[in-house]
């Protein structure tokens, strides 16, 4: 179905502004382009989405990487459009859709926006990765998200859901969806799910990760697809080796979620996993930069669950580490969460604290009895680490600042 004139004009204007914004170096341009597009045609989103296969990826952690993985898996069959730069609000979604007329879209969506995106885009598939505490000042309590997801999915019977069975908040959120593919990811984070999202009573956790509410019927759903000892076990019992460019358990979980969604969309899981395995650094994550002959590896961690995983990926002591912390709006203005991160695991090495809120981190590390110093500025912080190889871990806007400042050298 051809798009109405108004939408075509809006799309042209939005993309032109986005391109201009890119050319003047103001960023990807999705946000400003999307604003223009929606101003010219407020109904553009629904029109651009109509008749198209759309996959939405949401959750607290892993959205950008999983979106890239799923896009790669689908690209083995046909070209797709995707918001690979992480522009996951309405403006970013509409600009991404405008980049193609009928290609399938793989869209990362902010957790808070997901219900609205489900209503507006009628997605074929929604991937629900995980839900944990993040940006409490802006997003609020994580249960509120689960509640809104649940209601939106109940009202979208044509949408297939791929959901993490090991996250009680996600399992509950997907509980009223018509068609769910449950994925066993082996998630270890439990701090946000000790009390049942359904009834408030205590959840019982078995050693193998199975969980059951002690009061109501909510329990871990049986997984159709799961990650076991580094292998992917398919619903037909086949075991596939998972070989990834990206490190760590979180990326294995992202990979199996992406493969499950690709299968729902008709891509053979073996081909999907091959494509997923070839994904290397995504938007700077795990990228290695060279500064004054030092090699600096960048890691992104945005919240306690993400940091718990990042601390596993940081190379062992005595290699020094630079940790950058900001508390701007996209990070959450309240860095209290620093006390939920087991920074004690960084003992035995120097940690250079930096970022707008590096002093909060310095106090946290003092109480964790970790050797540390505060250094303002990323270049200065990296130089203060005084080692040929350094891992730099930072939260969202601090990561962007570090990447920009170190690339400039």
């Amino acid at each position: 179905m051809p798009l109405p004139v108004r939408t075509r004009v809006a799309t042209g204007a939005g993309l032109a502004v986005a391109a201009l914004s890119r050319r003047v170096g103001a960023g990807e341009g999705s946000v400003i382009g999307g604003r223009v597009l929606l101003a010219v045609d407020p109904g553009a989103l629904a029109r651009l989405a109509a008749g198209r296969s759309i996959a939405l990826v949401s959750g607290t952690n892993g959205k950008t990487t999983t979106t890239r993985m799923l896009a790669s898996a689908l690209e083995t069959r046909e070209p797709v459009v995707t918001n690979s730069a992480g522009a996951n609000l309405m403006t970013g979604l509409v600009t991404t859709l405008a980049r193609g007329a009928e290609e399938p879209a793989v869209l990362e969506v902010d957790e808070g926006l997901l219900p609205k995106a489900i209503v507006g885009l009628h997605p074929s598939v929604v991937l629900l990765l995980n839900l944990s505490r993040d940006q409490l000042d802006r997003i609020g309590e994580v249960r509120t998200h689960a509640q809104r997801w649940r209601a939106a999915l109940e009202a979208a019977p044509a949408t297939a859901v791929v959901a993490n069975a090991d996250d009680p908040l996600v399992a509950w959120a997907a509980g009223l969806a018509r068609q769910v593919t449950w994925v066993g990811t082996g998630q270890r984070w439990r701090l946000d799910a000790y009390s049942c999202p359904n009834c408030g009573e205590r959840i019982d956790w078995a050693d193998d990760g199975a969980w059951t509410c002690t009061n109501c019927t909510l329990a871990r759903p049986t997984a159709h697809l799961s990650l076991e000892d580094g292998e992917v076990v398919l619903s037909d019992g086949r075991r596939l080796t998972l070989s990834l460019q990206l490190p760590g358990w979180p990326n294995k979980a992202n990979a199996v979620m992406a493969a499950a969604a690709a299968e729902v969309l008709g891509v053979d899981p073996v081909a999907a996993l091959d494509a997923v395995g070839a994904v290397s650094h995504v938007a700077g994550r795990y990228q290695v930069l060279s500064v004054d002959g030092m090699s600096i590896r960048l890691l992104l961690a945005k919240n306690p669950a993400g940091w718990a995983e990042a601390l596993d990926l940081i190379r062992p002591a005595p290699m020094p580490v630079v940790v950058g912390i900001n508390a701007r709006i996209p990070d959450g203005r309240d860095p209290s969460w620093l006390w939920d991160v087991p920074f004690e695991r960084l003992r035995g090495r120097l940690v250079v604290c930096t970022g707008d809120r590096g002093r909060d981190l310095a106090v946290r590390l003092r109480y964790a009895e970790v050797d540390h110093r505060f250094v303002d500025g990323y270049l200065a912080a990296v130089r203060a680490a005084r080692a040929p190889d350094v891992d730099l871990a930072a939260n969202y806007t601090s990561f962007q600042d570090a990447r920009r400042e170190l690339a400039r050298g």
Binding site: G140, S336, W339, A362, F374
Partner: protein, 245 residues
């Protein structure tokens, strides 16, 4: 000297620890250890028996459902009531102040009975949450300005048997229109400064510890905390005068 080890009970960290509140236990324990006093932190989760013999009890912030579950368990066991009768020190933040009070509001606004250890009543607020830096002039002798971060939707009214912890300089605090922040009664101290309130306010941590130990404590080198406090006070001032960052 196993006998002299101070036991700090962290109550329901999985239910009442939304804002890094467990950090307060770390701060208290370390400040004892650095002075050569033994300290241990023991966490008690939902369904576990809370002992009455600890010296210090901590309760942090939580969401509505988990908060009600914690209140129900402690009402049934009355463990905290017995500990308070034994002279224990209690520090509650955010949901902590609500659970310690006479009653607080359920998610639907209906009242839920609290532990009645503090003469305060918490009701549902005006709709907008109080979120941001919170600064108060303490009403307890010997403390410097208190600095923290608040994030709550409820309003707490103080009864006649408690004193406020401080008077709000910046932020909302208890929110009942009287400009008060937190509540103090005997050895129970509660505040809306959530998360690591004691990391930013070491003098308050030492006040609680002095009650436990029974004497004033030797000073520690708090230079890094002083730098952080100075930075936070400047940030609040910038916001008050709308100055750029």
């Amino acid at each position: 000297m196993a006998d002299s080890t101070v036991t700090i009970a962290l109550l329901y960290p999985e239910l009442l620890g939304t804002y890094g509140d467990g950090g307060n236990a770390t701060v208290l324990a370390e400040r004892l250890r650095w002075r050569g006093i033994g300290a241990q932190v023991v966490a008690f989760g939902a369904g576990e028996v809370v002992p009455t013999s600890c010296e210090l009890y901590l309760m942090g912030g939580g969401e509505d459902g988990p908060q009600a579950l914690a209140a129900r368990e402690l009402s049934e066991s009355r463990a905290l009531h017995a500990a308070v009768d034994n002279g224990a020190v209690v520090f509650g933040t955010c949901a902590g102040i609500q659970v310690l009070g006479q009653e607080f509001a359920n998610a639907d606004g209906s009242p839920h009975p609290g532990l009645a250890l503090l003469d305060v009543r918490t009701v549902r607020g005006p709709g907008t949450r109080a979120i941001g830096e919170l600064l108060s002039e303490p009403l307890v002798d010997g403390l410097p300005v208190l600095t923290g971060y608040e994030n709550h939707g409820a309003v707490t009214h103080l009864g006649s048997d408690v004193r406020p912890l401080g008077r709000v300089v910046h932020g909302v605090g208890n929110g009942g229109g009287d400009g008060t922040e937190g509540a103090v009664s005997g050895r129970i101290v509660a505040t809306y400064m959530h998360g690591p309130a004691l990391a930013r306010n070491p003098a308050l941590a030492d006040l609680l510890l002095s009650w436990v130990v029974g004497s004033t404590l030797a000073p520690l080198d708090d230079t890094e905390v002083d730098e952080l406090r100075a930075e936070r006070l400047r940030a609040v001032k910038r916001r008050r005068w709308r100055l750029p960052r």
